[in-house]
């Protein structure tokens, strides 16, 4: 499972007149940051440390459902066995075998050690799931200033990459672009058909930075890595 969303952009045949809407310049009030590395501390200074600027915690529904099911299954089996034997029936084979194995195998037995190792790994996974934030595919957005309290917004990285790709394609000279949005970095690969690639790169840097903080309103605009190359055609 890839944690990076990849988008391949090839120009379609229709051409649009004029610059794309919304990417000609940053919206008023957006601090312009043409530097390719808007550092974390710089973006933190620009805004008050609102709780909404962090990625929301995942509810961990799947992990909880699986753990709850397994616990319920184990408890159910033991409960059934307890009631079954108390009602005067003979214990089932699985129970007699299990309790016999547990009583006779020493703890340096391969099966016991394997089971213990699996249990330790599983416990570690559960602990990590409980303590980490999750929602790794989402990027937190800045909520409108003066908006309602308690509002949080996230955009998924695949969608962020789509919007940034559109912004990239609005730069004159770009003929194709690939944009990947990681959690901490935006990777742009653009092909340049005309103009000086260095100029295009400079404009891409500014455009992508503006789109990330202005149009996308990311709370922490990731750093950028921009590669340009001449279009082979």
């Amino acid at each position: 499972m890839s944690t990076r969303r990849i988008l391949q952009g090839e120009p379609a045949h229709q051409q649009r007149e004029g610059p794309a809407p919304g990417v000609g310049g940053p919206p008023p009030g957006t601090p312009q940051d043409p530097s390719p590395r808007p550092s974390r501390s710089a973006s933190a200074k620009r805004q008050s440390p609102a709780p909404s600027s962090r990625r929301p915690r995942s509810a961990r529904r799947v992990a909880s459902a699986v753990t709850a099911s397994l616990t319920a299954l184990a408890c159910g089996a033991l409960l059934f066995e307890a009631v079954w034997t108390r009602a005067g029936n003979r214990a089932n084979t699985w129970w007699t075998t299990l309790s016999n194995e547990l009583a006779t195998r020493p703890v340096d037995d391969v099966w016991i050690l394997t089971g213990a190792a699996v249990a330790a790994a599983l416990g570690l996974v559960l602990l990590i799931l409980a303590l980490t934030r999750g929602n790794r595919g989402k990027l937190p957005m800045k909520v409108p200033a003066g908006g309602p309290a308690g509002m949080r917004a996230v955009v998924d990285r695949r969608s962020a990459a789509l919007i940034l790709r559109d912004a990239t394609m609005s730069v004159p000279g770009t003929s194709a672009a690939r944009v990947r949005v990681g959690r901490h970095r935006i990777h742009v690969r653009a092909e340049v058909r005309f103009r000086d690639p260095a100029d295009v790169k400079a404009e891409l840097t500014k455009t992508v930075g503006d789109a990330a903080s202005g149009q996308l309103r990311l709370a922490h605009p990731p750093k950028q890595t921009i590669h340009v190359r001449r279009s082979p055609t």
Binding site: G76, L113, A119, A121, L126, G147, L162
Partner: protein, 199 residues
């Protein structure tokens, strides 16, 4: 976000128990105490690699006591019910009515269904320009509703102005149920589209 907290606390608790048990057995099975010249405290289980996990003596130690079976069955039943409740909490989204305070009437005079509010909010959001799909759901305890909004934008949609309009829409929804602050979680996505060159 009550459920998030509960889920994470229970997951951490289960993780600690399972990890601790595994490590205890691993420590005994690999004779780590002897290799590292450690002396475990008195009564520590599994100090030698020849110990059995649950010897026959332990298995039947309390079986003769008259409290053992009722206690075991009660404990297992409680644990089973708790696990089932935890499992159901992951899906349960029952219809909930909220008291709708009206001026000049007792607080319980009018009630409004959650789905009414969330449907109205969804309609509001779908009519915003640049929005392709929208779905709003309301959850949370009676007097502390929370909204969750999933939005998909048009290929041409611009997140920033849409977010401003969503803020206004949720403010209206909050006013409708007389809640000053309606905590809202917005999940934004953009419809997939081919890239276009704009030169």
């Amino acid at each position: 976000m009550m459920r998030t907290t509960i889920n994470r606390v229970l997951l951490a608790l289960t993780g600690i128990i399972v990890l601790g048990g595994g490590l205890l057995v691993l420590a005994g099975g690999t004779a780590i105490y002897r290799h590292w010249n450690l002396t475990p405290p008195g009564g520590w289980p599994l100090t030698s690699e020849h110990d059995a996990l649950v010897p026959h003596g332990d298995q039947t130690r309390w079986a003769g006591q008259n409290w053992w079976w009722p206690a075991t069955i009660a404990a297992l039943a409680t644990l089973l019910l708790l696990a089932l409740a935890w499992l159901l909490a992951q899906t349960a989204r029952g219809r909930r009515h909220r008291a709708l305070p009206l001026p000049g009437s007792p607080p319980s005079a009018a009630r409004i269904d959650d789905t009414v509010v969330s449907d109205a909010l969804t309609d509001d959001l779908r009519n915003l320009s640049g929005v392709l799909h929208a779905r709003a759901t309301l959850s949370g305890p009676r007097s502390h509703a929370e909204a969750r909004i999933d939005l998909t934008l048009d290929p041409d949609g611009d997140p920033a102005p849409v977010l401003d309009s969503v803020a206004m829409a949720t403010q209206r929804a909050g006013q409708a149920i007389r809640q000053d602050v309606l905590p809202t979680h917005i999940n934004l996505a953009v419809a997939r589209h081919a890239s276009r060159r704009a030169t």
